[in-house]
Assembly symmetry: C2
Homo-oligomer: 429 residues x 2
């Protein structure tokens, strides 16, 4: 075993960074054995140097992250700052000064992954980011290595723990959205401003990364259709239960049409209780992958948290250090397939539509006609009425999102339709 | 991209081998892009050359596997023959003649993994075997790469699809073992001679491989305690249901005592219905991994079958080919921790014991005294009686297997105990 240590610079020392530093210290011997050389924490860039950081030598702490990544003797830069800048510039600078990079930065990878991979490749360095998607769950590596000989057709994932906690709570207790959100906030599962989670921005970034890797194509954050889950109601859960379903916020990446394009989207959806994703509880994450040869795989685990995310970072760190020692690099960006991303209108799925209608003869016929005119075939209709008002729940066969949108627009114009109470996609069947 | 192809020799062209050859042909362009060079099927060693093999050039087929691996121009040998010999000699010969090896051979890896890794390392070649454990499920790579920076404490897996199909059938229909086995045989899930599956030999080989990788130690097949599932009864399932459990054949590898040793075992066990492994249906496999930092992870998918196993083989093939091109090798055997394997008697778990006893006063006191004398603490007792006979179901707190064995031996000597109807471990709590 080589005795000269590999030098690691840590950018950021918050919840994840401090766990990375802790494990690097407490598991130093194991890491050395697994890498084939010891690793040494060579510097820690932070914003607030005065904060006491247990177990970290104060002489390693600096506020000058740029100087740290420019030192030239750093083997691996671990970036756990998050956000676009200064992370992007620091990573680029790190590559230019001879370091490889391990990042947990989903927002940056989703937005600028291609450019960062290009810089890494130009300098013959590694860019690893297992921690950017679904925390501790090994997902990037299985997708880009284990399934490298297979053809992935679909990735269906619960990739945001906050929203899964809220939806699970609504499902199990009958609580409304706000009540469940309040509990998530009180327990620390939701941030003070939960927008990034509940509006699906976080999941959309992960969907872009997953789609790119799964389909060997570039999928930008802007390519991902996004709907949040703030409008999911207790009534939706009741409807889902009637169908033997539950509701999850899903990130769905799939081949579209004849496979010549792909789609990526994030929205709440009903899935059957028999689907393995339906039983993913609390703040856990899980990703279901469908491939030609391997069939259906699922990867399950904690999607966030300091220690789980640090585990993913350290797995990458060991791999990148091993690559440094052998003079090789791991798999870089694989975007050769260059499949275009189709718009949401091309997505084909089933729909659960809840309508408030006038309770009089002929309404069902009118509604059914609108569906037929838009080429949307109806699977089941359930009609319940009281006090001159009735509710119609329509579940469709598979139809394009464009056809469904057209249908709903036309339905809204019917005098007998008082309102469209909810539209929800039905997935995983 | 390099245009000169990497040469692949295929040993065995059965259910898995023919799928490997098919995917190599149909996905040739994708594989070339992902590897960075085309791959070429350079030879296929079979036992029965006269058998028609669709899509395989007959001029590539040979019965002389030894000559094929000795050719010297083979980059990667894919071994899907199975069994110990001639696979072992062929793999060794392949390394000696400059090839790397991808194998799906669990029996061989469990028995001779250390020796084969040593030969691979001596010749600077790769030995990959993702397909040897749990078919298509990425498991070896996540354990030895993604979790390389973590400390795995326990691996709990359903790693045999045949027995899971049988147990799931017994659970869902109330069928007895023989009836469920007959159905598994009729549907092709069980072989004509199901011994390797139902007696746990297959799962034990996988447990040895998983334990070795998870704990960075050598765990031999002989180190794995093994009990089959042929004696699980419909009554056991009824008892399990009473406890909110189901029964699975589990492979369990865990750190023992203070972490200075490990244990590996295969046996039927009750697990709570709330455990993610409880809902693994039919012939699916799933492996639950508990680690210090990442917490609880689960990997789920098809554990057998031609195409799924071929997917795992091809993922390895891509990785090994990439390593050939970069002149590096992937992670080899990691056995530095050299943890000893403790005997089954040291395993600590809970037990569900069903006793047939005389229905008279004082029996419970007698039985409870025996447990106490052996240091086994009782959690719950349920007594049901009829016609002078009674049944006592005892669930213990955690105790060592040795203490439990001593307890059962002493119970059998009590006049009032007519028989020990079943003993089952309770896991996953």
């Amino acid at each position: 075993m080589r005795t000269r240590p590999l030098k690691v610079a840590l950018l950021g020392c918050g919840v994840v960074g401090s766990e990375v530093a802790r494990i690097m210290t407490t598991h130093a011997d194991d890491l050395a054995q697994r890498i084939g050389a010891p690793i040494e924490l060579a510097g820690v860039a932070v914003r607030r140097p005065s904060k006491v950081r247990e177990g970290i030598d104060p002489s390693l702490v600096t506020t000058d992250a740029t100087a740290l990544v420019k030192r030239g003797d750093i083997d691996v830069v671990v970036e756990v700052i998050g956000g676009i800048e200064p992370a992007r510039t620091l990573i680029t600078t790190a590559f230019e000064h001879g370091a490889s990079v391990v990042s947990a930065n989903k927002a940056l990878l989703a937005q600028d992954g291609a450019a960062l991979h290009a810089v890494a490749e130009q300098h013959g360095k590694d860019l690893y980011y297992e921690a950017a998607v679904a925390g501790a769950i090994p997902l990037i590596r299985p997708l880009r290595e284990s399934l490298a000989g297979d053809k992935v057709n679909r990735v269906l994932g619960i990739v945001n723990g906050t929203t899964n906690f809220i939806l699970d709570k609504m499902d199990s207790t009958g609580a409304g959205y706000q009540e469940a959100l309040d509990e998530a906030t009180a327990l620390g599962y939701a941030e003070a401003d939960p927008t990034a989670d509940v509006e699906g921005f976080d999941a959309a970034a992960k969907a872009a990364i997953l789609a790119g890797i799964a389909f060997h194509s570039r999928v930008r954050l802007d390519d991902v259709y996004r709907e949040g889950m703030t409008e999911v109601t207790a009534a939706d859960f009741a409807s889902a239960k009637n169908m033997g379903c539950t509701i999850k916020l899903l990130a769905i990446c799939e081949r579209a049409g004849d496979g010549g394009s792909v789609t990526a989207r994030v929205h709440p959806a009903m899935i059957p209780l028999t689907h393995p994703l339906a039983s993913v509880r609390g703040a856990y994450n899980a990703v279901f992958v469908e491939s030609d040869a391997s069939g259906q795989l699922m990867f399950y685990g904690p999607g966030a948290g300091g220690a789980p995310t640090a585990s993913a970072v350290l797995g990458d760190l060991v791999a990148v250090c091993r690559n440094r020692l052998s003079g090789a690099t791991g798999p870089g960006e694989s975007a050769y397939a260059a499949l275009p991303v189709s718009p949401m209108g091309d997505v084909v799925t089933r729909y659960h539509i809840s309508l408030d209608v006038a309770d009089k003869p002929g309404v069902l016929a009118q509604v059914a006609t609108v569906f037929a005119e838009h080429g949307v075939s109806i699977d089941t209709v359930r009609q319940t009425g009281k006090d001159g008002e009735a509710s119609l729940v329509v579940v469709t066969h598979r139809a394009s999102d464009a056809s469904l949108s057209g249908t709903v627009e036309a339905l809204r114009k019917l005098d007998t339709v008082r309102g469209v109470a909810s539209i929800m996609r039905v997935e995983g069947e």
